[in-house]
């Protein structure tokens, strides 16, 4: 039995932030978990994938799946939740973009059982190409109650709380994390795993509940707003919003949440200061009275958060509404007309993750105090060093090397444009490979190629992995047929979702396998080849040459198992 399933209340075990979310869900009695793998959220799926059989012995209703993409995962989790079950869906930041179409609607209807949505952002783009997206703005747009835990113990406790809140108000609840919070490990004190109830809920027909047809949809919006107002009232009293050094007479206070809170406390420890700190457990809806009461005692407040200012904007609006004279320190951007921001200086970055020393420097700057260490001098010394970068590269023995080698041998690299996609093959951007002229999001390589080939008439070779193909590649492929363009699409089929830790996908699942070539043909593509590029490099080269001449879209499926997975399977 895995340690995460131990039913020993009070025992301490070591968990990553993400693993603690799983434990929280287990302690809440979760019935249904769905996800599409994406780092920094991957461990949620990986954990349930490993323990699903053991957990079924505790909760026979339990179902876990890797869904084809995040939208599908969220819809599936909602299906369980509107039938009265407890569901959890997990994804990385960009996954929420994919699922947002559904999320904004689901909030209107709410759910029956309970539903928790876990989303992890990646400040500094440690594991994410694409962008440094700040998911917190979705909370405002979709009106989804959102929690931000700081450390592993809170990840577990907040998740359990989120399930209860969701059940109480029949509304999905989001837990928003960041890389450093999710990939932080520490001791977690376990709670009890409940005995599963044998009663099985059912979907109950009710035309007023889940069908968002006008004019009912506007009533639903009103009901959503009413729920949020009630939740806000509850949040005002909740002890998940904590004040530290509340008796301090200092006139500078700090408002923060998530992993930034830990940096704040570290900085105060280093500076030997006891400034009042309001740590928000909820970032939507904000406990406005609690915040105002905190601010009223202060002359100035430093808002510590990562990426673009979310809390800072909300607090500035709140202060303005209440006519509160308080100086707000935070990010550098001028907002809301700029007038009240005149005296303000940017002291925390909007780009890149925070570090404890950034917060210490910010506090020192405001208070005109010396930091505990000469960070500036040290940084100057450090920046003088010449350190060769060691970016990741395709593994030794990776079957993609054979694709790279064949292309370099037979394709005019100057003339042809190479379209990238999210997966291990985005490492084609490495300077020793250099086969990536653009890279955006999952599913985009082929649709962008279509736009290029329809206008500039340049030839484009696009890459897409098998898991990405199932995720978002199919509509783009159909579009090349429907609207007639001629990219050469290379589907890199390594029979796994390699980059995020070898999760299965529909092409290799335990159940019925969906064959990539059958889908490709069914989409209307006439030129299709399936080649093992490692075993038959010459055939692969020949295929490339032949298809580059075609006036219509063509597909080569490069089928060879991921080298790491092959090794794993053997041992």
């Amino acid at each position: 039995m895995k340690e995460i399933l131990l039913n020993k209340s009070g025992k301490k075990i070591i968990l990553l932030g993400n693993e603690a979310v799983c434990r929280g869900a287990i302690e809440a009695g979760v019935d249904f978990v769905s996800t599409y793998p994406g780092t920094p959220a991957s461990e949620i799926g990986n954990t349930f994938w490993q323990i699903k059989e053991d957990f079924k012995k505790i909760n026979p209703k339990f179902h876990f799946e890797f869904s084809t993409n995040e939208k599908v995962a969220m819809e599936a989790a909602a299906g369980a939740a509107i039938s009265g079950f407890k569901s959890l869906v997990a994804m990385k930041n960009f996954g929420l973009n994919v699922a947002s179409d559904f999320l904004c609607t689901l909030m209107y209807s709410g759910i029956e059982g309970s539903m928790v949505i876990f989303v992890a952002d990646d400040p500094s783009c440690w594991s994410s190409a694409q962008s440094e997206q700040n998911t917190r703005f979705y909370s405002l747009m979709a009106h989804i109650p959102t929690l931000e835990p700081s450390e592993p113990q809170e990840f577990k406790d907040f998740t359990k709380f989120a399930f209860n809140l969701s059940a109480q108000f029949k509304i999905p609840v989001m837990i928003r994390s960041t890389t450093r919070a999710s990939h932080q490990s520490g001791p977690v004190t376990l709670g009890e795993i409940p005995n599963s109830k044998f009663q099985i809920p059912k979907f109950v027909k009710d035309p007023k509940k889940f069908s968002t047809m006008p004019p009912r949809v506007l009533e639903m919006k009103k009901e959503l707003f009413e729920k949020i107002e009630k939740i806000k009232k509850q949040f005002e009293k909740s002890n998940l919003n904590k004040i530290i050094y509340g008796n301090s007479r200092e006139k500078l206070g700090i408002l923060t949440s998530g992993v930034s809170f830990l940096y704040v406390m570290e900085a105060l420890k280093k500076l030997n200061l006891k400034l009042p700190v309001l740590k928000l457990g909820f970032i939507y809806p904000l406990p406005e009275r609690k915040i105002l009461n905190f601010l009223k005692k202060l002359k100035s407040v430093l808002i510590v958060e990562e990426l673009e200012p979310y809390l800072e904007r909300e607090i500035a609006i709140l202060a303005k509404k209440e006519n509160l004279k308080i100086k707000i320190f935070g990010k550098g951007e001028k907002i809301e007309g700029g007038r009240i921001w005149k005296e303000r200086k940017a002291i925390l970055p909007q780009i890149g993750e925070l570090k404890p020393e950034y917060v210490e420097i910010a506090i020192s700057k405001i208070l005109n105090k010396k930091p505990s260490f000469n960070y500036q001098l040290h940084l100057k010394k450090f920046e003088k060093l010449k350190i060769p970068a060691r970016p990741p590269i395709l593994c030794p023995g990776c079957p993609y090397w054979a694709v790279v080698n064949a292309i370099k041998k037979v394709v005019d690299l100057q003339k042809v444009i190479f379209g990238g996609e999210i997966g291990c093959y985005m490492l084609f951007s490495h300077k020793v490979i250099n086969l990536q002229d653009y890279l955006y999001c999952m599913g985009s390589s082929t649709s962008i190629a279509h736009g290029i080939s329809k206008t500039s008439k340049q030839k484009v070779i696009t890459f897409i992995g098998d898991s990405s193909f199932f995720h978002a590649g199919i509509p783009a492929l159909i579009n090349t047929v429907f609207n007639q363009s001629n990219p050469l699409i290379i589907i890199l089929e390594n029979q796994t979702t390699a980059m995020t830790g070898h999760q299965p996908h529909p092409g290799v699942g335990d159940g019925r396998v969906v064959k990539v070539e059958e889908i490709v043909r069914a989409c209307g593509i006439k030129n299709v080849k399936v080649i093992d590029q490692v075993k038959n490099p010459e055939e692969f080269e020949k295929g490339l040459k032949e298809f580059l001449e075609k006036d219509e879209a063509s597909v080569i499926i490069a089928r060879h198992i991921c080298a790491l997975l092959e090794k794993k399977k053997k041992t």
């Binding site: 594991s127 830990l262 395709l394 020793v432 995020t500």
Partner: protein, 190 residues
Amino acid sequence: MKKDFNLIIVGVGGQGQITLLRILEEAALAENKDFKGSELHGLSQRGGSVEVHFRMGKNILSPLVSQGDADLILALEMQESLRSLYYASPKTQFLLNKLIIPIPGENIVPEDQIINSIKNFTKKIEIVEASKICKEKFQKEVLAGVYLLGYAQKRKLLPLRKESLEEGIKKVVPEKYLVENLEALKLSQS
């Protein structure tokens, strides 16, 4: 322990940094200390630089070690020690595994140049032939990490008991690799 203990382990993806972090955490848990670890997954693997943080003490807040605040830096690869100088100051002790893994498309930074750069930050430098020793004894370079942990413990640079490290290894390392890991630890103590 009066002060927090701050450790950084740097190296290249695949050298086992995350396993080492887990061993340290289990050892700290066994001694009833508070601790936090920080690691990165995904893009940072695949042969790229990997850096993990381990902090231990009475009440650990930040999972990240602050700039210049490392007590000990274990470099599993020598060139990677340069990147870790962000965390180094005169109080920092370096233990360097005598190993260079070339970076595709880059020239190798020679050992003396690396040492000179470190000397600008701290004088406390020790080179350990961990990879070489583990290759000779066990035909397995990846054991260098555990060897280095054990070595740090023996040199009193790591405030954890040997028995706790042993316990950590037993909890973290899969059964079939357990004996060699325990032997590497034992060897580092001799």
